[in-house]
Amino acid sequence: MKTVEAWSAEDVSDWLNKEGMPEYIKVLHQTDGPALLSLTKADFTVPPLSRVSPDGGEQLLERIEILQIETHIEDHKNGHANGHIGGIPNGTSKLQRNGTLGRKDFETKIRIPIPTVEPPRSSFPTEWGKTGIAFIYAIICFVTTTVVISVVHERVPPKEHTPPLPDKFFDLFDRREWAFSICEINGMLLVGLWLIQWILLKHRSIIGRRFFFIVGTLYLYRCITMYITTLPVPGMHFKCSPKLLGNWEAQMRRIMKMIAGGGLSITGSHTMCGDYLYSGHTVMLTLTFLFIKEYSPRRFWYYHWFCLVLSAFGIFCILLAHDHYTVDVVVAYFITTRLFWWYHTMANQQSLKETSQSNLLSRVWWYRLFQYFEENVNGTVPRNYQLPLSARAFHWNHAVKYSRLDIQ
């Protein structure tokens, strides 16, 4: 930084601008460095300076003084390493004497970098586009699952040929016929409760995105495990619809029927066999409970307990009805809970949203997809509620933000 003595008129104008004293620019546009330094109080008592100066030039003179110190200090900075106590920009020391500016006791002047105030962006942007993509992903996974079930059905060995496998739970508990209906009713209740809760959430786009992504991935995993090895039917009570070997049209119709019925036996849409490892009913029961618990207020403990009972009893009833092997249910529970907790831990911890040597959670195959969905979400999504239609009303609460106008 060149000393003030070397400044040109332009430099002076720039400096005046920077100091926030634009009113002097016009008047002092011919003033260069030395002239600036030679300004005295007397100059401010006569026009033109008297006209523009609100305080008799006090402020400007002071600034000029400071400027002199600054440039001096800049020059000698290296020699004064630890000598000046105030030489670290942690505070400013400025001593005011009796208003007289004549004494040349120099104080060190430290510049405080004030961060420019940016309008704060929302930490939880809605981004419905991403939720839409997650929804499409989930739909694709559901349809793929249905197709795979239809394919696997053709390969299930007939129950006479391959009897049900030995299962510890089946040895202990006999089959109850009404049990599977209970399981499905519980499942529908939980899904309904979750839907209502989701509609009432404020950040429904973010949470919806998470739900669709997790559900889609779980069903995708399920496709794989169902397809590679086909387990026989768990009980002789099963009525599997006949195999349509090669008849594509009938298979399509079957697929449509299943999708329309949501894959539930209650609706009569699920007459196909072979989709045992792992249990989709367990996935839905567990996942809806996890989401309900996660995104509802902590004090609703009775609600959480109710949903837990629904979920646990529903899972128990799956086994009681001998509709799935025990290993199907256990694996489904394991995968669902792990995926849910994995995803949410990564979403809530900023340090886990970047790949690094210590972040081993980032080695899953869906990490890039996760980053895409959660990159703009900062922090834990708060449990706030809001009626869906008052969304527009919410906007005019925005405070008006003022920012300093820069001249030129």
Binding site: H76, H84, I85, F106, L165, D167, T337
Partner: protein, 379 residues
């Protein structure tokens, strides 16, 4: 000096929390712009006096000046205010303590689970449906690839090589105790999960070629002999110790192959990429050969891979990410083994660095330990 004069003549009006042990910022006073010209002498008038004109002795002078300043400030502060003493951080609390006894506990846990697995295999063997009653289940891989008899030997050989490499690597690690603890814990947990899945549902044999030892219905003694034989042979078919069937979901061989590869990769230097690739190739070929040999269903292998990798990454992320410990929204801590994890990793405060000891250092550290033990005994 002007500044010290200033302090002498004025009272400290604003209590200052100053760090008198450091020469740097006596920070927390308010810089006050005086609008109306009234002088307010702040304690922060420790600003050094006019140093402007001679730059030559300025550093000395200012050094001296600061000293005088601080002394006077010190006196002032002692009179008026309380100040906080800031101690320098205590150096060298060991951030990676060894704690061999914890490793011992983890080893016992792993041993117990391995024995328990053997017991469960023996039990399950009694319940496996006969090949004639329950033929092998349809499996996609088996439809495409026919059985190759020697494939399983390849698997077991690869497994032995990988375990051997990992053992050697582990011996040369500096933080053996911590890494060993982790290895034992993961092995134990994965085998425990395996016990659960094997026991609850019994899959039939994957191929007609499998020779299952006859069932011993109530012969407890015979069963115990089988258990011992299986343990002593390490559960490998190579050693002819594994004649029992029923332990299909999920595959223990896949667990060992995957886990040893993960550990080898995690705790070796990054520049040894050829070593990583070699181990990866061993691991993958071993796993594929399990399927080629029709020794396990595909779902056994896939589930084993999934559970092993997830558990490994989960544990290591919990261990390496210190913001998670005690964080409120740490869902990773909701696993059932979180208390065990806290016990094992409580005193490990940083990521374990991959540091190796040279053979000489290794020997000398062993000697030292024996030497110390010798001295203690003498005393």
């Amino acid at each position: 000096m002007a500044a010290s004069e200033l302090i002498e003549e004025d009272e400290v009006r604003i209590p200052v929390e100053a760090n008198v042990t450091s020469l740097n910022s006596p920070a927390q006073t308010h810089p006050q712009r005086v609008a109306n010209g009234n002088p307010t002498h702040h304690a922060l008038t420790l600003s050094p006096p006019a140093d402007d004109h001679d730059g030559t002795n300025s550093s000395e002078r200012s050094g001296l000046c600061s000293l005088v300043l601080i002394q006077s400030l010190n006196r002032k502060l002692k009179r008026r205010c309380e100040y906080e003493k800031i101690c320098a951080k205590e150096e060298h609390t060991d951030r990676l303590p060894d704690e061999w006894w914890k490793t011992g506990v983890a080893f016992l846990y792993a041993l117990f689970n391995l024995v328990f697995t053997t017991v469960v295999i023996t039990i399950v063997h009694e319940r496996v449906p006969d090949k004639s009653v329950s033929p092998p289940l349809p499996d996609k891989f088996f439809d495409y690839v026919d059985r190759v008899p020697w494939a399983f030997t390849v698997t077991e050989t690869n497994g032995l090589i990988l375990v051997g490499l990992w053992l050697v690597q582990w011996l040369f690690l500096k933080h053996k105790a911590i890494v060993g603890r982790r290895c034992f814990f993961l092995i134990g947990t994965l085998y425990m999960y395996r016990c659960v899945t094997m026991y609850i549902t019994t899959l039939p044999v994957p191929g007609k070629h499998m020779v299952c030892a006859p069932k011993l219905y109530n012969d407890s003694r015979g069963k115990i002999w089988r258990i011992l034989r299986l343990i002593s042979g390490g559960g490998l078919s190579l050693t002819s110790s594994h004649l029992m069937c029923g332990d299909f979901l999920y595959s223990g061989h896949t667990v060992m192959l995957t886990l040893s590869y993960l550990f080898i990769q995690e705790y070796s230097p990054r520049w040894m990429w050829w070593y990583h690739w070699f181990c990866w190739a061993l691991s993958i070929s071993g796993v594929i050969c399990i399927l080629v040999g029709h020794e396990h269903y595909s779902v056994d292998v896939v589930v084993a891979y999934f559970v092993t990798t997830r558990t490994f990454w989960w544990y290591h992320t919990m261990a390496n990410t210190h913001e998670l410990r005690g964080a409120p929204n740490n869902y990773l801590s909701r696993v059932w083994w979180n208390p065990v994890f806290n016990f094992l990793e409580k005193n490990v405060q940083t990521t374990v660095p991959v540091v190796f000891l040279s053979p000489r250092a290794l020997l000398s550290s062993c000697k030292e330990r024996y030497h110390t033990i010798g001295i203690e005994r003498d005393e």
